[in-house]
Structures are given as structure tokens and as C-alpha cells.
């Protein structure tokens, strides 16, 4: 009972945020989960109402509320469209942390987050071993998977068409580096993110190639840690904070102009969630976190806005390719970036962009959601797949490796043969030394 008191007390802390919801119901128009189930408990209004009930102690059993909260992609569509400016994502993340505090973290998640994520070296080693024995692992537990990024583990689960772990992760193929500013006068810190490192090292290589070509200096330490969203979305604030601290140690003092990532989820987490969660930290740390967070940028935005990349005037050989682009929620809805990735694709004259219907509707990949609610996630993903295929494109591009996994899963289950690429890969093709 005293724990319940504590939970109520914590929820009261976010009362000002909860009360901003005027129950207008406009979020029903954009929530991908609601579109599938039609349940009030699945839309932001319903979730916020339940949290208020919990805070007011009219609901006594938090389990039902937790279940509704977990049925959420954390895609931010509701927040982006809310007339009242309700910070739905902040609310959901904080509430998940409170409820996890109340119930405790499931043991397997605890093992992963506290044991592996907080210890990047060990994490790399375990996965390094796993990649060699992929076929042998069948079906450990579903609920060990925290977020989109934690899908790194998911190829261990049978029956799903997940991209395999790369034979060699990025941190093996590309050595740690700290190169000076070249003719661009710019230098980046390269935060590659777990999924690029472990599953799509080719994207990381494309980033490095493009930077070399444009004379952009690169600081790429291997000691970087996960951005923390898998832990936070499971309510494990402790691990999240440790991960932020690990990253602060590596990046805070380093010399660079922009913190670049090729992962929409990492970009949005560092930009939006880090400062938000840092509110409770001591002033100096909070200041440092905010400073770093202000420097983060998606790779396409960096190349278009800062480097000023323009269409290659070299003739690129090969057949013309039709490509369609999916807007990751974490890039468009969270950060308002949708023109730059398209512009970057447009810099490769071989590619012709064909827009799909609902390019900015969620692909259905939402971390633990994908695994706990696989059927629902699949239904949302199927719609995305149909829209992609209807364009007649042979390449599907998107700026978030987590979306790439989900879309890849959906396309491959339907027997489609489209290739999935990141805009930076498409641009890198135009550069010499393929």
C-alpha cells in the first residue's frame, strides 16, 4: 500500500501535464494503434484519462493502466497533432518509469538492460558470439526486448523475417577515429547507434565515406553506448540515466561541431528525451546534457543544411531506379525533418522518388510494442507494405534502421523483393571508390 502511495505521489508530479489534455479527442485521427483497435484506452486521450484516475485513486489496480500504456508505439503522432499542446510522450515515458518502479522490471529485461546495455563492451561480445551461432538460437523470451533498437536481439526469435546480425559489426570493420576538419571546415562526432552498429554496418560505412569525400572530420569513439530509449521505454530510468552518463563521458568534452546519427530514433531521443529526463539531474550535468543534445542532427539534415550537398554532376551508371521514402515518426513527427532525406536521395540522379500514400504514417515498429503486440504491429506494418508496393518502386528508403527492420520484415513476409536503403547509402553510391 505504501508503494501505491508512492506511485500516486509520483503521478501527482505530472499533474500539470495531465490536466492540459482537454479531452477533445482529436488524437483519434492520428493514432496508428487506435486506427486498428478503435479502443479509447489505446488513444492518448484514453491513456491520459486513466493516469488521472490513477493519480486521483479512483482506479486502484495499476495493472490495467500499465497494459494500456504499453500498447503504444511512442510514435508521437498524438503529440504532434494535439491542439492543446499536450506532451503525450513525456507523460507516457514518465508514467512507464513510475509503473516500472512499482512493479519492478521483468527479470530478463533487467538482465539485458542492467547487465548488457550498461556495459557496451560486454554487449558487443555477447552479440559477436550470437552472430556466429544465429541458426542455433531459437526462441528465448519475448519480453526481454525493450525497444525498436533492442530488436538487435530479435533475430534470435523464430518465425520472423528479421535481418540477421551482421557478420562483422561496424565497430569491427571501421576503426575508431578522430580525424581533423578537412576542406568543409566541419567536424562531426559520429553516434552510429546500436542497430546500425550491429545490423546495418553498411550505413555506417556510407556515412564515413561521405564525410571523407566532403572533407568532414570525424570523431568516432567505440566506447559510445546505447542512446537509452530501449531501457526508458520499458520504464527503466536507472539504466537510461547510466547510458546517458556513459555517453556524456565520451562526447561532452570532445571537439566537434555536430553530433551526427543515421538513426532517427537516436536523433530524436538525444534531442528531445535527454534534456527532458535531465530536468531532475544536478544543474551542471543538466547543462552539459542540454549542450550536447543541442548539437545532434540527423545525417541527411547535416549533409543538406551544413555541408550543402547538391545533386552529383557525375554521370552515375546503371539502370534508373524508382525509390519511395518512408518518414520515420521519430524524424518527421518528432523533429519536423522530412525534406532533407528526400533532397539527399534526389542528389543521386539515378534515383526517381515516387511518393507513397501515407508516407508519414507509422510503420508499426515501436520497440517492446512490436514484440508484445506482434499481431497489431503486423497489421499496421502490412498497410505500410501495401502503400510501398503500390508505388512500383524497387527500393524503399527510410532514415531509421528500426523502421528498416520492420519494413524489411513486412516486405519479406509478403514475398516482395524490394531493397531497403538509407538515404545516405543512396547518396554514397554517387561518390567515387564504391
Amino acid at each position: 500500500m505504501s508503494e501505491m502511495r508512492q506511485l500516486v505521489g509520483l503521478l501527482k508530479q505530472i499533474d500539470d501535464q495531465l490536466v492540459a489534455c482537454m479531452r477533445c479527442g482529436m488524437c483519434q485521427a492520428v493514432c496508428p494503434i487506435y486506427a486498428e483497435t478503435g479502443l479509447e484506452g489505446h488513444v492518448a486521450r484514453g491513456k491520459i484519462a486513466l493516469l488521472e484516475c490513477l493519480a486521483d485513486e479512483v482506479i486502484r489496480d495499476p495493472a490495467g493502466v500499465k497494459e494500456r500504456l504499453d500498447a503504444c508505439l511512442l510514435c508521437g503522432s498524438c503529440q504532434a497533432n494535439c491542439p492543446s499542446g499536450v506532451k503525450a510522450l513525456d507523460i507516457f515515458l514518465k508514467a512507464r518509469a513510475f509503473l516500472t518502479g512499482y512493479y519492478g522490471l521483468p527479470p530478463v529485461k533487467r538482465a539485458i538492460f542492467r547487465g548488457l546495455l550498461q556495459n557496451p563492451k560486454l554487449f558487443d561480445t555477447v552479440l559477436g558470439v550470437a552472430s556466429k551461432f544465429q541458426g542455433l538460437f531459437t526462441k528465448p523470451v519475448n519480453d526481454m526486448l525493450g525497444s525498436s533498437c533492442a530488436r538487435v536481439f530479435s533475430d534470435l526469435i523464430g518465425g520472423r523475417h528479421f535481418a540477421p546480425l551482421a557478420d562483422k559489426p561496424l565497430h569491427d570493420v571501421a576503426t575508431q577515429r578522430d580525424t581533423p576538419r578537412g576542406h568543409s571546415g566541419l567536424k562531426i562526432a559520429f553516434f552510429y547507434g546500436c542497430v546500425v552498429d550491429k545490423m546495418f554496418p553498411r550505413i555506417g560505412e556510407a556515412v564515413l565515406k561521405v564525410c571523407d569525400h566532403h572533407g568532414v572530420g570525424v570523431f568516432m569513439p567505440h566506447a559510445q553506448a546505447c542512446c537509452g530509449i530501449p531501457a526508458l521505454s520499458s520504464g527503466d530510468r536507472e539504466t537510461f540515466e547510466k547510458l546517458v552518463a556513459l555517453n556524456m563521458k565520451v562526447f561532452a568534452e570532445a571537439d566537434f561541431d555536430v553530433l551526427v546519427t543515421p538513426c532517427a530514433t537516436c536523433t530524436s531521443t538525444i534531442k528531445k528525451i535527454w534534456p527532458l529526463m535531465a530536468e531532475d539531474l544536478p544543474a551542471t550535468t543538466r547543462f552539459q546534457v542540454k549542450e550536447l543534445s543541442a548539437k545532434v542532427k540527423d545525417i541527411s539534415a547535416f549533409l543538406i543544411q551544413d555541408v550543402g550537398v547538391t545533386p552529383a554532376d557525375v554521370a552515375v551508371s546503371g539502370e534508373p531506379v524508382t525509390v519511395t521514402y518512408h518518414d520515420p515518426c521519430h524524424l518527421k513527427k518528432s523533429l519536423g525533418i522530412s525534406a532533407e532525406p528526400r533532397a539527399l536521395i534526389g542528389c543521386n540522379p539515378r534515383y526517381k522518388l515516387q511518393e507513397m500514400d501515407g508516407a508519414d504514417s507509422c510503420c508499426g515498429s515501436g520497440g517492446s510494442f512490436t514484440l508484445q503486440h506482434y499481431d497489431l504491429s503486423k497489421r499496421i506494418g502490412k498497410r505500410k507494405r501495401d502503400n510501398i508496393v503500390a508505388t512500383g518502386a524497387t527500393v524503399a528508403a527510410t532514415s531509421c534502421p528500426a523502421c528498416m527492420l520492420q519494413i524489411g520484415d513486412m516486405l519479406s513476409q509478403a514475398g516482395d523483393t524490394l531493397a531497403i536503403r538509407h538515404p545516405v547509402e543512396i547518396y554514397a553510391e554517387t561518390l567515387a571508390g564504391r
Partner: protein, 459 residues
């Protein structure tokens, strides 16, 4: 008890469609009105018309209060259920059954979302004009039951002007058909007329037949800014006197203008007293003429600035300010009370003057915007429901707003409905005789009073 009840409804709608857990019940206890929630026993989600009819019949047999819920966006408590009652969700009844281009009508199920319907109609080169601000989520059943209006009300009318007929279930679960697919129809009583605006108290809609019209070929929007409210309202009168009926004629007061500018940075002058957003539509030549005439009128009466949209991009910009009005206001304070007292359009200056006095008297922040063309204003009270002293003043202010609206020959609600929020004011506007008549009508049609009790007449 409730387990037994769940089973009964599961037999009709299937297991997954009875929602009776603690969280579900709390989720169907409220709507968009600022009113305390009330807990139903359960919610059911019929997937077929037959199941809908059986649900109604069962509720009647058991004497259970029944509240139909579309998207729960009404602002008057129309979907706040009775304690222990049944909420009937229409979300799964969402098929557009027919869009007939030759005869210009459509048939929809009650749960179809307004904007989706309007878009399907537009794809076929036709037009469904009623456009409530909630159209992205509101349902056609909810629109009919509230007689929803929108920005185009002045020229195109409101939902009631488009309902040609419908079928609905009476309390015995019998399907009642009224109206037809033809423009003319005098077969039987005009029951669908009775159903429009009935807020779920007289019958449960199944399918609705709606009139469609050809879309205007052209339109032109402009924004006029005034340093004096009197001039803005004189402009409205002059436009109507010139026999021009704009498709939209929207108004914003000084507080709203400032708030919108702070929020959206649309380039509005923050010292302006009033803003009109005017759009004319129709045949291209007529649109050109009328737009020029409206512009001339605005100039003559003394608009300080007129901005005529030259293309779609500019039109969008002009509209941005209006679209941002509610969003901007809603962010100022935690609680937003959106009223819709309506007066004859010539009384707008008097009404706005009274609103200013009320805001001052009760020490409240009120931003007013709305449909100047039809006198439907939205005085929006920005408050915090947790501050009990302030909220008591809000309630007193609302009482006074209604008194003023009625004294000016206006009405309690232009489009948001009476529901629970305004039923106590009804007698002031229509008198005891009208309420008794409505109560007797309801008692005859719904002897056990199961259909959305407590709404409209308060009974």
C-alpha cells in the same frame, strides 16, 4: 451481476466486443465536455446492424440506460453515460454503403468518420459541406444527433440540411425507416427531422441518407483587419446587404489575435481589435466579382489591412490563423471551456461587448472567435478546473453569458448541443410548455427512459 451482464451482451456482439474491465469503464465515462465523469457498467461494440438492434432491445428489456457513443467529441456531455448504464460504441459500424453520383446522395453507417466521408465524396467530384472543427474524428451519427454545424454554415447550412432520411432502432429493437433517396418524399411523418439533434434520446441511428451537392468551381479567401469591432461588424452587415453570401465569414477578437500571433507567428498585427476571414466561392467569374466587391466594402468601412489570397499557398496562410485559434487558446491555461452561445448576426457587437464585461466582472480570461456570418460565437474561457474558487466564477460567468445571449434574441447553443451541460438553462429559452411537450414525446417513445437519460430536457 456485471459478469452475468457481460455474458448477455457477449452473446450478441461476441467476446472481444464487450468492454467491462475497470479501465474500460473509466475510458467510456467522459467526453469532450468539462464535466465530471460517470461510470457505466460496460461498453459494447456491435459490428453489425442486427447486433446493434439486439443491444438496444436487450437494454430495454433489462431497463438499462443506454448511451450511444461515436467519437465522444461532443462538448455538452452527450456521451457521459448514466452510472451503471451501457455505452454503445459505433466505431465498428463504419461502412460507406453507397455514394450515388447520378442522384447525388450517399448512404452511410452511423460510425463513419466525417472527414473520411467528405473525402470519398470529393473523390467522386461531389461535395458534402458540413465541416465541424472536429471533422477529422467526429462520426456522421454524432453529427446528426448534435445537428453539427461548421465554418460553411452561412451559405451551405448545417447537418440537418443534408439529412434526407435514415433508419434507426426504437427501444424494442424495431428498425424504423424514414425519408428516402429522392429529393421529394412525403411518405409518412418526417421522423428523421425529429431525430436530427435528438442527442441519442429518441432512437439509435443505423444508416443515414445524405444529400450531396456539386462542389464550387472556384473560391477566394481574404483576411481583413480592423482597429475597431464596430467596423468589423458593420462590414459583415454590408456584405450581406450587398446580397453576397460568403461560404465562410469568421471572426476573431483582439485577445485571440494576440494569442494566435504568439503561438503561430502568422504575422497578425497584435494591436488589431478584430479580424474577419472571408471566403467566397462559386462560379469563377462570380467569385472574382464578389471578392472584388467584398474587398471594396472592407476598404470603404475602414479595414486597416486587407490580404487577398492569390493562390492555394496564400489561401492556406490566411486560413492558418483561423485554424490555430483553438490550439493557441487551449495552451494558455490547463482547462478550456468552449461555449457556443449564438445571437442574430446584427447583435454580435452587443454580445462581444457583454463578454468583455463578463470577463472583467468575474476576473476571467475569455477569448472569442467564431462564425460572424451566422452569429455563432465561441467565447472560450481559459481557466484551471483545479482552482475551485476560479471555476465557481467560470460557472457564474457561463450563466450570465446565456442570459445575455437570450436577452439579445439568441440561443443557448448554435451547434454543440444541450446534453447535460445546458439542460438546466433550457426552460429560460423555450419555456416550461416546450419542455413538457418534449418529455411527453420521449415518454411515449421510450417508456422506460433508457435512451440517454438526463440529456436535453434533464429527465
Amino acid at each position: 451481476m456485471s459478469n452475468h451482464l457481460s455474458q448477455k451482451f457477449e452473446e450478441i456482439v461476441g467476446t472481444g466486443n464487450v468492454l467491462a474491465s475497470e479501465v474500460d469503464r473509466h475510458n467510456y465515462a467522459y467526453d469532450a465536455a468539462v464535466l465530471p465523469p460517470q461510470l457505466p457498467a460496460l461498453a459494447v461494440r456491435p459490428e453489425t446492424p442486427e447486433a446493434l438492434g439486439r443491444v438496444v432491445k436487450t437494454c430495454n428489456e433489462l431497463g438499462l440506460p443506454l448511451t450511444v457513443r461515436g467519437s465522444g467529441t461532443n462538448l455538452s456531455g452527450g456521451t457521459i453515460p448514466s452510472e451503471g448504464g451501457v455505452v454503445v460504441l459505433t466505431g465498428a459500424l463504419n461502412k460507406i454503403i453507397e455514394i450515388n453520383e447520378a442522384d447525388m446522395y450517399a448512404v452511410v453507417q452511423t460510425g463513419v468518420v466525417t472527414a473520411k466521408f467528405a473525402a470519398e465524396v470529393a473523390k467522386r467530384g461531389l461535395f458534402y459541406p458540413p465541416d465541424p472543427g472536429s471533422q477529422a474524428v467526429s462520426t456522421m451519427g454524432g453529427n446528426v444527433a448534435e445537428n453539427a454545424g461548421g465554418l460553411r454554415g452561412l451559405k451551405y447550412g448545417v447537418t440537418k440540411d443534408y439529412v434526407m432520411g435514415m433508419s434507426f432502432y426504437d427501444v424494442d429493437g424495431e428498425l424504423v425507416k424514414t425519408g428516402s433517396r429522392t429529393v421529394k418524399c412525403v411518405t409518412g411523418m418526417n421522423l428523421h427531422g425529429l431525430m436530427v439533434g435528438s442527442e441519442g434520446t429518441l432512437g439509435v441511428f443505423n444508416e443515414i441518407i445524405l444529400k450531396l451537392v456539386p462542389p464550387p468551381k472556384a473560391s477566394k479567401a481574404m483576411m481583413a483587419i480592423f482597429d475597431d469591432l464596430g467596423k468589423a461588424s458593420e462590414t459583415v452587415a454590408a456584405i450581406i446587404a450587398a446580397k453576397i453570401v460568403p461560404a465562410t465569414l469568421e471572426y476573431m477578437d483582439d485577445f485571440t489575435i494576440k494569442t494566435v500571433e504568439d503561438f503561430a507567428h502568422a504575422g497578425l498585427p497584435t494591436d488589431a481589435k478584430a479580424l474577419l476571414l472571408i471566403e467566397v466561392d462559386g462560379h469563377p467569374a462570380q467569385v472574382e466579382d464578389e471578392a472584388a466587391e467584398v474587398e471594396a466594402i472592407c476598404k470603404r468601412i475602414g479595414a486597416t489591412r486587407i490580404q487577398v489570397a492569390k493562390d492555394a499557398v496564400e489561401r492556406n496562410k490566411v486560413w492558418e490563423a483561423r485554424r490555430a485559434a483553438l490550439s493557441a487558446l487551449a495552451r494558455v491555461r490547463p482547462t478550456t471551456v468552449l461555449e457556443d452561445a449564438t445571437v442574430p448576426r446584427s447583435k454580435i457587437p452587443a454580445m462581444v461587448g457583454a463578454l468583455e464585461k463578463i470577463a472583467e466582472k468575474y476576473k476571467l480570461t475569455i477569448g472569442t472567435f467564431g462564425h460572424a456570418g451566422d452569429g455563432n460565437l465561441h467565447p472560450t474561457i481559459l481557466t484551471d478546473k483545479r482552482d475551485h474558487a476560479e471555476f465557481a466564477r467560470v460557472e457564474a460567468a457561463i450563466d450570465e453569458i446565456f442570459d445575455v445571449a437570450l436577452s439579445l434574441g439568441g440561443t443557448l447553443s448554435g451547434e454543440h448541443g444541450i446534453g447535460m451541460a445546458k439542460s438546466k438553462y433550457m426552460v429560460k429559452e423555450v419555456g416550461q410548455g416546450s419542455i413538457m411537450y418534449a418529455k411527453r414525446l420521449k415518454a411515449a417513445m421510450d417508456p422506460k427512459n433508457i435512451l440517454n437519460p438526463g440529456k436535453i430536457t434533464g429527465a
